[in-house]
Subunit: 329 residues, 4 copies
Amino acid sequence: MLRFALLGAGRIGRMHADNLARHTGAELACVYDVAEAAARQVADKHGARVADTVDAALSGDVDAVLIASSTDTHVDLIEAAAARGKAILCEKPIDLSIERVEACREKIAGTDVPVMVGFNRRFDPTHRAVRDAAAAGEIGTIEQVVISSRDPGPPPRAYLEVCGGLFRDMMIHDFDLARFVLGEEPVEVTALGSALFDANARDLGDIDSGMVLMRTESGKLAHVNCSRRAVYGYDQRLEIHGSEGMLRSGNRRATEMDRWSKSATACREPLLDFFIERYADAYVAEIDEFLAAVSEGRAPSVGFEDGRRALLLADAALESLKTGKTVRV
Amino acid sequence: MLRFALLGAGRIGRMHADNLARHTGAELACVYDVAEAAARQVADKHGARVADTVDAALSGDVDAVLIASSTDTHVDLIEAAAARGKAILCEKPIDLSIERVEACREKIAGTDVPVMVGFNRRFDPTHRAVRDAAAAGEIGTIEQVVISSRDPGPPPRAYLEVCGGLFRDMMIHDFDLARFVLGEEPVEVTALGSALFDANARDLGDIDSGMVLMRTESGKLAHVNCSRRAVYGYDQRLEIHGSEGMLRSGNRRATEMDRWSKSATACREPLLDFFIERYADAYVAEIDEFLAAVSEGRAPSVGFEDGRRALLLADAALESLKTGKTVRV
Amino acid sequence: MLRFALLGAGRIGRMHADNLARHTGAELACVYDVAEAAARQVADKHGARVADTVDAALSGDVDAVLIASSTDTHVDLIEAAAARGKAILCEKPIDLSIERVEACREKIAGTDVPVMVGFNRRFDPTHRAVRDAAAAGEIGTIEQVVISSRDPGPPPRAYLEVCGGLFRDMMIHDFDLARFVLGEEPVEVTALGSALFDANARDLGDIDSGMVLMRTESGKLAHVNCSRRAVYGYDQRLEIHGSEGMLRSGNRRATEMDRWSKSATACREPLLDFFIERYADAYVAEIDEFLAAVSEGRAPSVGFEDGRRALLLADAALESLKTGKTVRV
Amino acid sequence: MLRFALLGAGRIGRMHADNLARHTGAELACVYDVAEAAARQVADKHGARVADTVDAALSGDVDAVLIASSTDTHVDLIEAAAARGKAILCEKPIDLSIERVEACREKIAGTDVPVMVGFNRRFDPTHRAVRDAAAAGEIGTIEQVVISSRDPGPPPRAYLEVCGGLFRDMMIHDFDLARFVLGEEPVEVTALGSALFDANARDLGDIDSGMVLMRTESGKLAHVNCSRRAVYGYDQRLEIHGSEGMLRSGNRRATEMDRWSKSATACREPLLDFFIERYADAYVAEIDEFLAAVSEGRAPSVGFEDGRRALLLADAALESLKTGKTVRV
């Protein structure tokens, strides 16, 4: 039984709290949030204590932290938790600044606490099955990867202001997913993007629509197409092409119903609205993996270095977008 | 080059005329129809002569007849053509009366002209691929067959008055298809039916919605569900279950487009409207088979006896509907 | 919080115990099974007490019973629970004998305990969505229903000996599903069946493959095709045809992956193996409904009478199979 | 009736000859090929005359030329035909050199013969339906386009040596398709590519796997992924994302069969092998459009300028690949 401190009691923190509470191998021991009322609500729901400081949250009775606070606090919390020897499960991204990420890496290098970054795609049953089949050689040598990543709608301006932009906020998942399925590091990145429909993105110098290409040292190619808007729902697809075939990961819907009428046939319902619904199973499996890694004394399958690598790719995409050059990572 | 007399220049006759005209192994030599203007129109289009009597149509310069006239004339025309030694391709059904069919069988028994009955389902590329895979043992021993057969809308009253009813007019195709894929004769038949939406069918004592079950001597089971109405188009499906799996034949659409919107996803267009469009390839393949059989001096793969057997099953279904008993064929 | 006694700690009982334990509105208070070790295992897992008799199980501290014991015990347990005023959730079927079912109905008529029969299909998200859309008029007037119901493989002989045969054991779910989606009672039933592959079924005079047709008073038609074997997994499909279109309920798989190779494309994985997996969500939703009904003081949406009606249809199918007649219910 | 000279009697020329011969509005008058035997074979099949020189082919009795010879001859043949006032239907690409293309443009500027370039994708029923729906505003404002373009296998070395490379030979179709569906000119192009599996491509400095991104002036984005190898068949897909939804163009197969077995379900057959089969309908529709344009005295819907624009994009992609820069067109 691993006892957790939950740091951050917003939307995603509450979801993690529910998963920890239901898990037979985990216990939600305490909750901390800068907004104490938020922390209290979650703590009360699950019979946990409220910590009024981070220090209090990291007290002796917890074994691990789940960091679900705002991105700019992640590095400090990782360092604090590592210093206390707590196992760390941190929501993505580690930070928006590669310098801060690398400084953090230095600081925690001496400790040997398990650190896991919450890249949920890796734990989605379908993405994972596709990747595992590819890794097992089912389609021979991997040659190309195509990822579709489309949010149902643009976020509020306040979120856009602090999120680090499309590449570091949204597509960072896809950079990680590409690395996960390619089994190699991309070394070249080129990108194009536009602010097509979201006035906030335009005002802030961000984009709402982006496309990226990547190439690994051995020549494998990967593409991500990304949009902050898809009226038909949260669209998350992956295809992997190899010398012996193709594997695809499609979207799951709430039901398997289809409709036939005078005007259209075989119609399915819209996709699940967003990540909490779509990756519900993934978030549970993520905690399974974290618990397994801690109990087996091994590194989690997706760690700090994966977080850093994905950020490097996001930064490279941004640089390519700004300079009009293919960037070498 | 086989020279054809086309007997009957209505909708389906015109379609056959086009196919004969395009076929490199066939020639449309003459056209006969009780309505001479109709015959003339088809003949003029394809540079054929108009015959003003059946006798004239069956003159020395034709090798074969394609019978596409009204059902009640089929038997007389088959007998006339057989007497003249012409190869015969006759639209289904042979006749609505099993007695007339059997009398015809007696009369033409002495001749050895090739006789083929136009059961188009057997020549549809998908139905045929499914049947061939099953016949080749791909799903082991066949156990069950499920056929869906739904017209886009009810026919005019005048047609209903002479067509012989749902089982003999429409479902006769499905009885043949069941025999084709089962590879065994059904020996038990039971049926239910209703006039649910077509006032003409109700007035005439016919049904517009029907379901049938069949069982072969060895115990294989088959089901047909049938309706005179499907607003989403002409629905023609088949599934075969065997000891090692299932094979399915689906509907073909005009394009492979799908549509995704706020309200529905992966929507395909409605099905092709009706048999001329849906079975276009089948009608061509049917003529291929007829020409091949004639040129190879063998019986066509679907002959007079198949026409008779399908009618027996249709009659059995009708008897079951009326008597409330499972009928032994 | 409703406190349950679980009566029967076999495979399906254990599954229900897990669901009750996880449910925020339910509590597993005690477990009874004729095999005390089985009861103890489940009770220990969830911190419940073991009852060594039915009487002990029905003591004051429980509000409801979940009956998951062998079919022949259901009626006695229902009567005992009703006499003690416990709300009742009973696995299907109520009993194999319509006489016993009707006698039970008499006995519990005076009590007003809520009684729910566990017809899981009604709670499957897709079947339910399809039925709800049809009931809401999305496809106009319902005309035909087609149900496919295929188990992954035949049960052991010992099970076959007591299960009441294909119609009462397996297809009873489909009779209920047909009633559920038709919104009318079938009044005519005809059936065909065979023992095609299961020597046990043949020895016992049972069938392993069956097909049924039904007709309601207003003329709606329904078909069920059923087999004890489908090598590709547990196949559970439904289609509803109406005056304005068709609605279909398809099978859910573990993932949304598809595979493309030299020999085949767009291949999906086999279906989930059996009911525990396929209807996992349905079993949870079933308990939701039971709890809601009890707390709202209303009858559950699927009750004793539904259990009786489904059995009447199963008996009618069996009679039709034996007599070769369409049976009026 | 338009009388054609066919210039080039190779594989694609023979296919066009068949289509012309079958077309009611066209006649194949003569055939020219540098290999006279090839010309003779096609001419004999269709009762056309053989021309032993280009001049002879362009004699008075022909109204139009269909240029299906090797790419390096296209420009000369276009100029010769234009000088004689013959309508021109030319296979893609116009030439591999943008300078030659532009010089040709100058030379034929004075003539007003209709010139059409054979970009078959535009005439594929599904691609066209998708584009037409998008152009009609069905998905609101177009935002992104994703094109998959994968050949079944690499071409022979001799072909690779003269084809101009992946971008100008193969992806040129996709550049045209992107322009067709975007309804705007791409102005920025970036590309990555690799020679992953084809030793000939590697030897020749070509690539066998390529990915491109494009951006229009208004900010719309397009992606093409391209490979010389797809073991499951010729893969040609398109998706268009807009403010109100997505439209997709999928692959058509020979049949609508699917297969279910112990190991996989809903399996479809491999895709059609290559362009002659996949775009069979498109090639016919292409001739329809050419005939319609000529008879209506209007420019064909896809002309010389479209050929030039597609080549400009291919050249830009190649430049981007070589320089590591996003190229402005």
